[in-house]
Symmetry: D2
Subunit: 158 residues, 4 copies
Amino acid sequence: MPVVLQVAVCGPGECGEVERDHAYRVGALLAARGAVVICGGGGGAMAAAAAGARSAGGLVVGILPGDSRAAASPDLSVTVVTNLGQARNAVIVWSADAVIVIGGSWGPLSEVALARRRGVPVVSLGGWRVTDADGRPVDGPVHVDSPEAAVAAALDPW
Amino acid sequence: MPVVLQVAVCGPGECGEVERDHAYRVGALLAARGAVVICGGGGGAMAAAAAGARSAGGLVVGILPGDSRAAASPDLSVTVVTNLGQARNAVIVWSADAVIVIGGSWGPLSEVALARRRGVPVVSLGGWRVTDADGRPVDGPVHVDSPEAAVAAALDPW
Amino acid sequence: MPVVLQVAVCGPGECGEVERDHAYRVGALLAARGAVVICGGGGGAMAAAAAGARSAGGLVVGILPGDSRAAASPDLSVTVVTNLGQARNAVIVWSADAVIVIGGSWGPLSEVALARRRGVPVVSLGGWRVTDADGRPVDGPVHVDSPEAAVAAALDPW
Amino acid sequence: MPVVLQVAVCGPGECGEVERDHAYRVGALLAARGAVVICGGGGGAMAAAAAGARSAGGLVVGILPGDSRAAASPDLSVTVVTNLGQARNAVIVWSADAVIVIGGSWGPLSEVALARRRGVPVVSLGGWRVTDADGRPVDGPVHVDSPEAAVAAALDPW
């Protein structure tokens, strides 16, 4: 087990109030458990996760797709400016000991897929679901229904 | 419209006979239509797509995740050695005017998600399906049931 | 030895007439020797190398830093749209069996450094020179003074 | 000016005692000035910079080229696992408000070149020097001869 766990919180850059609240609480709970929070560094669910982590005195890293810190959330402890576009999703996933996805959209789904490809725990709070061509669920993320359950599912395997 | 279309054919590195046949025929049909075929450069469906494209005298590019040409399919016209791991999936998607996914697995699903994020046409031949948290299909790839339909769906928007 | 050699031709996006002529002739000579030409896909020396390779009936690949084919040279056989910014320089270098640098500027110097780090042959035609802190030349690129010598130095080790 | 400056300290993974001492002192001085220290996360000068920053209670981020945290320095506050190989050098440079290079080798020289290409301040403490084809110095890094001068040159433009 790594000395300090790093957990990615992935969600859409534009989101509703429920997702924002979920992301904030997930960020705060992870920080309270001592985990470093990794996020995409932008708005919406990403900004909410960063604000939550900061509210609990945690360390939060934004891994941005663009070429400057201009678009970064103000709550980040560290800003990684990748200039890699959506290829930065792989950097988020490879840096994380577990991935929590909040809400459904294509960017976070790419992170679910990469995390399953890599083999780390993936937890979904309101995220999209994946089935095979015949409609059977594939062995993908653990689906939970609260921030508390999401954080437990991400950290407990460790 | 670009002068020459570039179409990505994405599929698992280990696959069954049906997927292999589908990938070969998709590669051949794309080449016959004058499109450049882009693939991941490895085995399974990727190697079959390359072999199909070559059989029709087409140009086929492999965009590899590793750090050498050692694992490359022998049917590639050009080998791009990214050494980017799965971040290379984004390079495949950004280079393609359309994406055809064959069969279900997490790597290709990440390419579906990135292609939808980017906004180019995505066609699925036997690939996984995505629904929202309530089980409703999301506006994702066009699902088809033959190589001919896959190639038509990829090229016709252009 | 790979079946078909791939050689990168690196040079500034804005360049003078001498560099343009050198890049064109290097591209043409490589194509005449049967090598695939890899370049950055943009203007200046990159466009000249692509035009030269095409004039000799060769295959030429542009590996672009941006997110679309809009800025691509019209002489490319294949366009790889990385959307990786200058991180794409590493993709060029890792895809190449040898690197020829034409003229001096910081982008191409990063490619010289990465190619030396990787260990493939590096040839410089009018490029910058590197010394240690005491002014002694370091074991870097082979410096040549003609396109013919550049191509010979790139291909002869193979 | 960003709220918190981020400064990259780049140096070889294998280095002598002088470079190690320089890197440690640069890391400590940057942390004492409140800057976040960014490094490559590996051994040699990278590990020394991390240890120095930690000794001064600073925040230090390692941006690794490989696919796991196994090779990471134990003094990092945050570990970014890029799995991008040497393309990660661009991520280090784009994340930094200034770059300090310690000692000479090809990896750090690629970071100098990328940082000059990007346009942020570059400071060299014992690093290699670059001249044009006629032996004239190019407008590259500021060369200094002490850790104190390096940190001043990196932070003073801000």
